[in-house]
């Protein structure tokens, strides 16, 4: 059936719907106009469907753009209703589903004006150019408060000769209150500008943000207006932003109130204020001028890792990784992406070309100390991690004075992951008995088994007992002579074991179970790959 005919027939047949303009095929969309009668005033919609309909032309599928009301929940800035229809390759069925979603929106959010249990940010038209990230800060502000905030660039604004549409920046400090980034990010070069606290969300209508300075005037205190006015004639200090002004207000959350911050960009030649004399006093006013809102994102820890991470106990712990080779480097990355905030790396070795294929290192890091290379990579992943790297090894002297110092170092960690496969070190840790919980990881040649041993004082013996005796001697020598054979296992071999091991440990800790020794084995039986995890 012709798609235009389908749309025209469908909407003509619906009770309470008028087809105002028949559907036709445009350059990009099938377009028509409808009116829907409601218990309130009728609603007018421009209907746009992609030419690929019922398939979406990513990310867009059908759009119902309301032209006579705005500001209601789940109504986008351009008036389109935010609906998420199911995928369906049958055009008639898909249209029925989409129209039922539209009717539900009309009933719930237009007629009944329901509110959702979760807060939805204001509908804001963002200007291109930047994206500011901030974290929650523990501070109480009141209307009219203002001061200087500090921010830093995460990258240069130009990428491959093109200006980034969303140049990423982070807010460092608002007044005296620091955002909760890790130590590395706090050391980035900083720029300063003004922040204003306005208490309530600046809306023109329901969730629709104010877009004209004249309307915004009533949210600003005389001092805040004066601060903006004093920008006249000054030169902005940043090459992207003449004057970024940070605006804070309270928003409701399930736990009470939190502060949301939005950014306005004021070009130096378009300062939006002017002064009037009233009763012999200077009174600040705002001009009829469009506000340029710039995107801000609350990237607090719980949001950043909100889609999935380690259990709280593991994420909040202090972890030491001994050995940053194939296992240790990937482990560091897995833990970091899980939200770990305190990580120490220890290894004495350097990155070799042959390491790259199955570790977390990169080609341009060859020759770097492994700890340094990994630290560099890890802090690029998480802005919340505090990472320390030590290019050394554990002192194996177990006489009293030396033992005390080593023990003091080890005891500061909640968990130690020993990925060195150094049996001497394993023995030393058994003798020292640090208070930290030790996980000893190793993989057998050709990745047949992964062994995780944990315990206190018995790791060497347990490992000797559990580790498979392998008749296949390592065959791969990197031209370094017989003293340096290396085991055969690919990046995916190592990481499939490692991810399963971390899942096992994490889930146990989460359920307050004792994370014990375990072995993971893989075997191909009848052409089916079988995994077996044996807990001890």
């Amino acid at each position: 059936m012709d798609k235009c005919l389908l749309f025209n027939t469908f909407f003509r047949d619906q009770t309470g719907v008028k087809l105002l303009e028949e559907f036709f095929t445009g350059n990009e969309f099938i377009i028509g106009k409808i009116q829907i009668d409601t218990a309130k005033e009728p609603l007018l919609f421009n209907v746009e469907a992609p030419l690929s309909y019922p398939l979406s032309n990513s990310p867009l599928s059908i759009r119902f753009v309301c032209t006579n009301v705005d500001g209601f929940l789940h109504l986008n800035w351009d008036g389109s209703v935010c609906i998420h229809p199911e995928k369906n390759h049958d055009p008639a069925e898909k249209l029925i589903n989409e129209f039922s979603l539209l009717k539900r929106w009309i009933q719930d959010y237009y007629i009944e004006e329901k509110t959702d249990s979760h807060y939805e940010y204001l509908i804001t038209p963002f200007a291109d150019g930047a994206k500011f990230l901030f974290t929650d800060i523990s501070a109480n502000f009141k209307k009219g408060d203002q001061g200087l905030f500090e921010y830093s660039q995460l990258t240069e604004p130009i990428f491959h000769g093109t200006m980034l549409v969303q140049h990423p920046l982070i807010i460092q400090k608002i007044g005296e209150h620091e955002c909760c980034w890790g130590t590395f990010y706090k050391t980035l070069p900083k720029f300063k500008s003004f922040w204003f606290f306005i208490e309530t969300a600046p809306v023109i209508y329901r969730r629709k943000i104010i877009t004209n300075w004249e309307d915004f005037e009533k949210y600003l205190s005389p001092t805040q207006l004066k601060t903006i006015h004093e920008l006249h004639g000054k030169t902005g200090q940043n090459h992207i932003f003449d004057y970024p002004i940070l605006i804070g207000y309270k928003i409701p959350t399930t736990n009470g109130n939190e502060i949301h911050w939005q950014m306005i960009k004021i070009p130096s030649n378009q300062i939006p204020t002017y002064g009037e004399k009233a009763e012999k006093k200077w009174v600040g006013k705002c001009q009829d001028q469009q506000i340029k809102w710039v995107c801000t994102i609350n990237s607090s820890y719980h949001r950043f890792f909100g889609r999935g991470g380690l259990c709280t106990k593991l994420a909040d712990s202090k972890i030491l990784i001994l050995g940053c080779g194939a296992i240790g480097s990937s482990l560091a990355e897995i833990l970091t992406r899980g939200g770990l905030q305190d990580l120490t790396l220890m290894d004495f070795d350097f990155v070799e070309a042959g390491n790259i294929c199955r570790s977390a290192f990169e080609f341009n890091q060859i020759g770097y100390p492994k700890t340094f290379a990994l630290e560099q990579k890890i802090r690029m992943i998480s802005p919340f991690i505090n990472i320390r790297s030590i290019q050394n090894h554990i002192d194996k002297r177990i006489d009293k004075p030396n033992k005390t110092n080593t023990l003091k170092f080890l005891n500061q960690f909640d968990y130690i992951f020993d990925c060195t496969t150094d049996m001497e070190l394993c023995y030393v840790l058994d003798i020292l008995l640090p208070t930290s919980k030790i996980f000893n990881f190793s993989i057998s040649n050709k990745a047949k088994e992964f062994v995780c041993v944990t315990g206190r004082g018995n790791i060497t013996e347990t490992k000797a007992h559990l580790f498979p005796v392998d008749e296949d001697k390592p065959l791969f020598y990197e031209g370094t002579g017989c003293w340096d054979p290396t085991f055969e296992a690919s990046y995916f071999d190592i990481n499939c074991y490692l991810n399963l091991a971390i899942k096992n440990i994490n889930d146990k800790i989460k359920k307050k179970l004792n994370a014990t020794t375990f072995v993971i084995k893989t075997e191909m039986n009848d052409e089916v790959l079988n995994f077996e995890l044996i807990d001890y």
Partner: protein, 309 residues
Amino acid sequence: MATDKSKHLDEVLQSHRMAHVEPLMNKYIKKRDEVKEGLDKKYSQKKVSSPINSGSYAKHDAINTKFDIDLCIPFQYDAFTTLEEMADDVFNFFSKEYKDLQLVQYEIRKQRVSIGLTFLIDGDIIKMDIVPGRELSKGDYEKTKNLNLYVRAKLDKPATTTQTNIQAHIDHIKEKNDERQIIRLLKIWKTHHNSDIKSFFVELIIIRAFEDNAGKVPSELWEKLNLALEFIRDKVTSISLKDPANSNNIVSNILSDSEKINLSLEMKRMLERIYDNEDNIKIYFPVNDKYVVKQKGNGHSKLKTESFG
């Protein structure tokens, strides 16, 4: 060759004997006696008796990889207005008055029923818990040896008080040699596997396992341990264990339901693994390498190098 489980367990117990750590023990005992003297002097007018020895060393079920030498100081009924005042007074004594250069000041801790002390003696860290208790009524201690303790608040648990009797605890395990062997083995398992199940709970459940099987307890060490492990596996979730010093104190309640289920599952897994392969007993009950008489080539501390990372 398959492991002779009883022989191995015997070797484990031998290697964990306190006699192996005599020099360290002597330091402990010397320090304990100094602390005793300090408490005697400070509380000469308030105590009802000299501090008494408690902890696993006093009960003779200690292992040399983890043991407690603790002291309990019994106070007269009218020595303090409240039990909290008593507990704070002893804490303040150690943190403000007690002079000992070997006492690590910043590690003096208020624990739930005790004050935790840490001494650093010639590079050895020695920990000692001091439990203050008050007799139940004027002159009662002389007759019953009962004491009331102050239990400090912890996380979501409010402060409370509890009644105890150190002598009753010591007597409860006295002359129970079979039970003591198994308790020591389970303490070895607990220590090496980072289990935080309270030792007192382990003591009581093992004693009950042997009581319930009176007349049927096998003579082989492994068989005795097997009986105990199976008893915990099958009974821990439902058993009620009373404090021998205070029948109102249900010790089994210190474990939550999920902790009891987990303990039962750990016992089940341990037994299954040992049934699978007798050698696996070494994972759960390792010998203390430091104090084992090594036979040539017996494999202890063999440093294998065929693993990779």
